[in-house]
Amino acid sequence: MNSRLPPNSNSGKCDAGKCAPPPDGSAIDGSAIDGSAIDDGVCNSGAYTVGPMKAGPPCCVPEPWIQVEKLAVHYGPNRVLGDVSLTINRGCITALIGPSGSGKTSFLSCLNRLTDLIPGCRVEGRISIGPLDIRSASTDVIALRRSVGMIFQKPNPFPLSVRKNIELPLKEHGVRNRGERAEIVEAVLEDVGLWEEVRHRLDTPAQSLSGGQQQRLCIARALALRPEVLLFDEPCSSLDPISSGVIEELICGLRNRYTVVVVTHNLDQARRIADHAAFFWTTNGTGHLVEHGSSDRIFDAPQETLTIAYVGGRAG
């Protein structure tokens, strides 16, 4: 099994609209992007269709950004994830697919060290994001989590007002100026397309919003901290089709600005949004990585038998 993406994985081409190459051909700067409006043109759900490989521009400039080597996760005596090596490219959307219990969420939680919070959880292996070795003891976890945002399966806004949901983490990270905070609140709500819907009720409880709105608020809350990497853990699985379509488009709009990793059970969705895909499978309770590569290759020309069966709907 190939543990890394080849340096120029052009074997699979992106659909036309999927990801535009950066204008000057240089690496995409995914860091600390101003939270200005999301480019609508990037993700037009009609622009690409599910189908055979197409010729097109290369899928994101493959600048390896998140490097995982020989990752293993144990919950108490149970090894839930073993021997995962994967490179995730900067500015791209990478989908993690596979059946429940194959360790996708555990993998995701390792990237922002949320695994630290789980009693009895032990992680082995090496993970680096850019130059930072995140598993090193000297790593500032708070700063790490600020730059690696996470959106959970169930929308989980705090039991506060819409405004305070965004302001609370901002205050925590030292944005003391009230006016500045208000600007950020407006900008990120605008980014997730929520501003028009909630501008007149910023002080109402966030939990009175609809499920899809709550999830977008959670995304806005993560964006407010100007992260480099965004982790989505099945962000649409508790939402209705329309809301999940909105979230999907939103995620597409993050391409090239943020390095995005999405766990999803919806293969069609993964195919629509992802540049790269990684397929996890579980044997004897331990999840492992079966195959990874550009999303077109994984979905249209998978090589491993398991992947062929899963993507074809015959297993899992």
Binding site: P119, N156, P159, P169, P205
Partner: protein, 302 residues
């Protein structure tokens, strides 16, 4: 084929359900009646006690009764100094036990895992403490606060002894409050890079307020009702206390004294009991209002 069978069995079920008579509802009727009568009995007993106290006590209550000093061993006069002592004892008790209790609850629920040896040990000790008879606390308080620490029979000794009694209840209820806060808040706060301390202060503590209030209500109830422990620690001098180092008689001790040791003291005992109940209701209301106002107002649920 299989489908047909399923349809058939459904039809059969449907027939039997049509046939159900009043008798098949009997278990439900019995259960409903049992639940209602249990609730009625409990409420009834409470109303009976309250009515009894009010009926016997209301006649003696007047402004003079609430403010004057007791005379003739409490048969005449009022309960002014006793109310003051009671409130002072309660204040000492709460001032000590609320910070300690909430702190310990935070330690237990947020900083130790439920399965850890330390957590289990502390929890077990608290449960044992909560079941210790109050007379034992009285003797302990007398030995430690009155004699060893040299506080003598004083409101301070009494309040401190009561806080030892109230702490287990307060801690366990507050801990439950923290445990009932959804783990999602902790996870999402951590994922946003919020420190543990500010997550605690900004989110968890406000969200745990209902538990804190339950603890306060139970704790205040226990403290106000306490007699045995106070006889040994704050004494039963019925004059107006000059300071916290002075001895003072609490209302419950006063009621006990009037009904047990003073012939003809029943009328004032009832009146004092009524006052005690009113103080209990008032302090509970004040405590929950303050907790809500200080912490809970930050929380906005749909």
């Amino acid at each position: 084929m299989v489908k047909e069978k399923a349809v058939k069995s459904q039809a059969v079920q449907f027939k039997t359900s049509e046939k159900r008579s009043i008798w098949s509802h009997l278990p439900e009727i019995i259960a409903t009646c049992a639940a209602w009568s249990a609730a009625l009995v409990v409420t009834g007993v409470f109303v009976w006690i309250l009515a009894d106290v009010v009926r016997h006590g209301i006649g003696a209550i007047s402004w003079t009764f609430l403010t004057a000093a007791p005379r003739n061993a409490g048969r005449e006069g009022g309960i002014g100094p006793i109310i003051v002592s009671t409130i002072l004892i309660l204040a000492v008790c709460m001032a000590v036990s609320v910070p300690l209790g909430v702190g310990t609850a935070v330690l237990l629920s947020e900083y130790t895992s439920p399965a850890s040896r330390f957590g289990r040990f502390v929890r077990r000790s608290l449960d044992v403490l909560a079941g210790v008879p109050s007379i034992v606390f009285g003797l302990f308080g007398n030995a430690v606060f009155c004699i060893y620490l040299g506080l003598g029979f004083s409101i301070l000794s009494g309040g401190l002894t009561l806080s030892c009694m109230v702490l287990p209840i307060l801690i366990r209820a507050t801990e439950e409050g923290f445990r009932s806060v959804p783990n999602d808040y902790r996870m999402s706060a951590a994922a946003l890079g919020m420190s543990r301390t500010s997550t605690l202060l900004q989110l968890l503590l406000p969200a745990a307020v209902p538990g804190v209030i339950v603890g306060l209500v139970l704790g205040i109830g226990r403290a106000l009702a306490e007699t045995a422990a106070l006889i040994f620690t704050s004494g039963y001098v019925d004059r107006m206390p000059g300071s916290l180092a002075d001895s003072g008689r609490s209302l419950s001790v006063h009621i006990f004294d009037l009904s047990m040791n003073v012939a003809g003291g029943d009328r004032h005992a009832y009146a004092s009991a009524l006052v005690l109940i009113m103080i209990l209701v008032a302090t509970n209301a004040i405590a929950s209002w303050t907790a809500n106002r200080w912490l809970g107002k930050r929380i906005l649920t749909a």
